[in-house]
Amino acid sequence: MLTATGKHLAEKETLQDYNVDLVEVEKGVYSILYNNKSYNVELAPGNKPKTYTINTLYNSYDIEILDAEAKYMKNRKSDDMDDDSTISSPMPGKVVRVLVKKGDSVKAGETVIIISAMKMESEYKVKKDRKIIDVLVNDGDTIDGNQPLIIIE
């Protein structure tokens, strides 16, 4: 994780003194030469303001530009260990099977619902031990994208 403060980046220990030759070659695509090494970085605005998704050579990152023009970077996977309180599918599809009911206790990693969308079946699991507050759909239901399916504690 990298943090640094805006314009005075060079003075912070974390980002040291980077002397980079940087040009935007296509919209959102930067060619960067640093110590004569050639890097290509592609940026896409994230879902929230001041956030980016970045593709470097080997990685995909989410980056947030913090206030006071600082920035904060996190690896996509690293912060993924918490559940949203509402389970939903980003795509419309069909409920193949609901595996829990209201009031159930489920263990970390357990599948709570199977959704079929874009010709693929996806299993939605909880990341930690959870309690099921409510189940809003039934087997075979057609669902919209982002429609709440299951509420967890």
Partner: protein
């Protein structure tokens, strides 16, 4: 001769078929749903007809609308691609009734092979080896328990109408029999509208090997050798190659002959695929026949040198096969990687969205079959396949090195893809050595799901790029709001076009 072909499909396969049509001087007709007006197959075709709303059961699966478009356009043949109606016997029949050539087998062949239980029976009669198991569907849960006890655990439950891993369940423990049976039936019903399920002995860690066949309407059948499709995730193929690193010339010959016999038993016409499973001792068993073009057909095209779609069209046109078995040979090595809009870090969930930027890998030995373009929004209604990379090398080593080179250069922004996951497959020792079976991904999941390294510089560089992009955007906004407010800091920043010191 066929003059105009309606392609009853979308995505990369629709374009792939249209390309061959164009080479043959045949006009191509696209069909499209609401979601697909901007899709590349509509842009590539000579003509295009709207056939309904976005969900495929209201458009690409509606036989009536497709026949209607074919008649309006005056198409004299229909190519079904893969998926959708490609293995639908009714559709084949309906085309026949309307006097439109169906570029594929007869409804009888489709039905015979599409119903896995009938297919098993047909193959047994033709002395083609099949996996031990039942030749009747399970009639009840009680029946299932009884039959499975007789065959002996572990078993595979399979949808009789199945294909592509749908409606399939492995059962290793007795207590899983009934939940798995229910799951398989529900999935089969959802996918195929039929919940007939049967039982096969589970062959542990098998290899999935398939043979491409071509059969004309004059009784001539040839095979175009094997494809190794053992790299699978949840019974979905991820990487395919030919020749199979496992195969010996003797077994290849023998299986080729069996494949031809199986094709004849199915009374088949067109391009088809005989799928086998094979154990480590090279014992092989008929698994199923795919009565259509496969997603992975290009690796065969590359190594054997034959345009399979061209042959499909010629066969549908009633022509005799141009090639005899002895004309064919395998030249070099080909590998295909399927690029899906999916998120490997999130259980391979489909990742639809808008393609912001794409850099396609090109050059020596690279074939790229895709359909997306910059600004295109991958619809949420269909298969998330973006494209297929088909790589040729003079030998397997070169093909792997070249695939790595191509995957490295392939960049897509806007949706998540499996590209980095595929790169890791190419680097996994079991794959590099050609020693893998269908357990490959499970066995190597630590290697395959390992986080990508990004050393200090790499992270810093990414951060700097984001920061500068943000500052540039901010500057633009400021300039728009207060065009006269000359902020010297920002200006100075803007002037330092190249060398940026942070």
């Amino acid at each position: 001769m066929i003059k105009k072909v309606l392609v009853a499909n979308r995505g990369e396969i629709a374009i792939r078929v249209m390309r061959t049509c164009r080479e043959m001087g045949i006009l191509s007709v696209a069909i499209y749903s609401d979601a697909d007006r901007k899709s590349m197959h509509v842009r590539y075709a000579d003509e295009a007809y709207h056939i309904g709303p976005s969900p495929s059961n209201e458009s690409y699966l509606v036989i009536e609308n497709i026949i209607d478009a074919a008649k309006k356009s005056g198409a004299d043949a229909i190519h079904p691609g893969y998926g959708f109606l490609s293995e639908n016997a009714k559709f084949s029949d309906r085309c026949k009734e309307e006097g439109i050539k169906f570029i594929g087998p007869s409804s009888e062949s489709i039905s015979k092979m599409g119903d896995k239980i009938t297919a098993r029976r047909t193959m047994i009669a033709a002395h083609v080896p099949v996996v031990p198991g039942t030749t009747d569907p399970l009639t009840s849960e009680e029946d299932a328990l009884k039959v499975i006890k007789k065959v002996g655990l572990p078993v595979m439950l399979k949808a009789s109408s199945g294909g592509g891993g749908k409606g399939m369940r492995l059962v290793t423990k007795e207590e899983d029999i009934l939940p798995s049976l229910r799951a398989a039936k529900s999935e089969s019903m959802a996918s195929f509208g039929d919940d007939a399920v049967y039982v096969e002995k589970f062959i542990s860690s098998p290899h999935h090997i398939e043979f491409q066949v071509l059969a004309d309407s004059h009784g001539n059948v040839i095979h175009l050798f094997e494809r190794e499709c053992s790299v699978q995730r949840r019974h979905q193929k991820v990487v395919e190659e030919t020749p199979s690193p496992l195969m010996t010339p003797k077994v290849r010959n023998e299986m080729g002959e069996v494949a031809v016999a199986a094709t004849k038993a199915a009374n088949y016409q067109g391009a088809g695929t005989i799928e086998f499973i094979m154990d480590d001792d090279l014992n092989y068993y008929f698994l199923e026949m795919n009565t259509r073009l496969q997603v992975e057909h290009p690796i065969t095209e590359r190594v054997v040198g034959i345009d399979l779609v061209k042959e499909q069209i010629r066969i549908a046109d009633g022509q005799k096969l141009k090639y005899k078995q002895e004309d064919l040979s395998q030249n070099g090595h080909a590998i295909e990687c399927r690029i899906y809009a999916e998120d490997p870090d999130n259980n391979f969930m489909p990742s639809p969205g808008t393609i912001l930027h794409i850099t396609e890998p090109l050059g020596l030995g690279v074939r790229h079959d895709g359909y997306v373009y910059e600004g295109y929004e991958i619809p949420i209604y269909y298969d998330p396949l973006i494209s297929k990379l088909i790589i040729w090398g003079i030998d397997r080593d070169e093909a792997i090195q070249r695939m790595k080179r191509a995957l490295f250069a392939y960049k897509i922004m806007g949706v998540k893809t499996g590209i980095k996951f595929l790169e890791k497959i190419m680097n996994t020792p079991d794959f590099v050595e050609g020693k893998y079976n269908t357990q490959f991904i499970e066995k190597n999941k630590d290697i395959l799901m390992e986080e990508n390294r990004c050393d200090g510089d790499c992270k810093a560089i990414a951060t700097i790029a984001a920061f500068i992009d943000y500052q540039n955007r901010l500057k633009k906004v400021k300039d728009r709001i207060h065009p006269d407010d000359v902020n010297s800091n920002w200006k100075a920043f803007g002037r330092k076009r190249n060398i940026t010191r942070l």
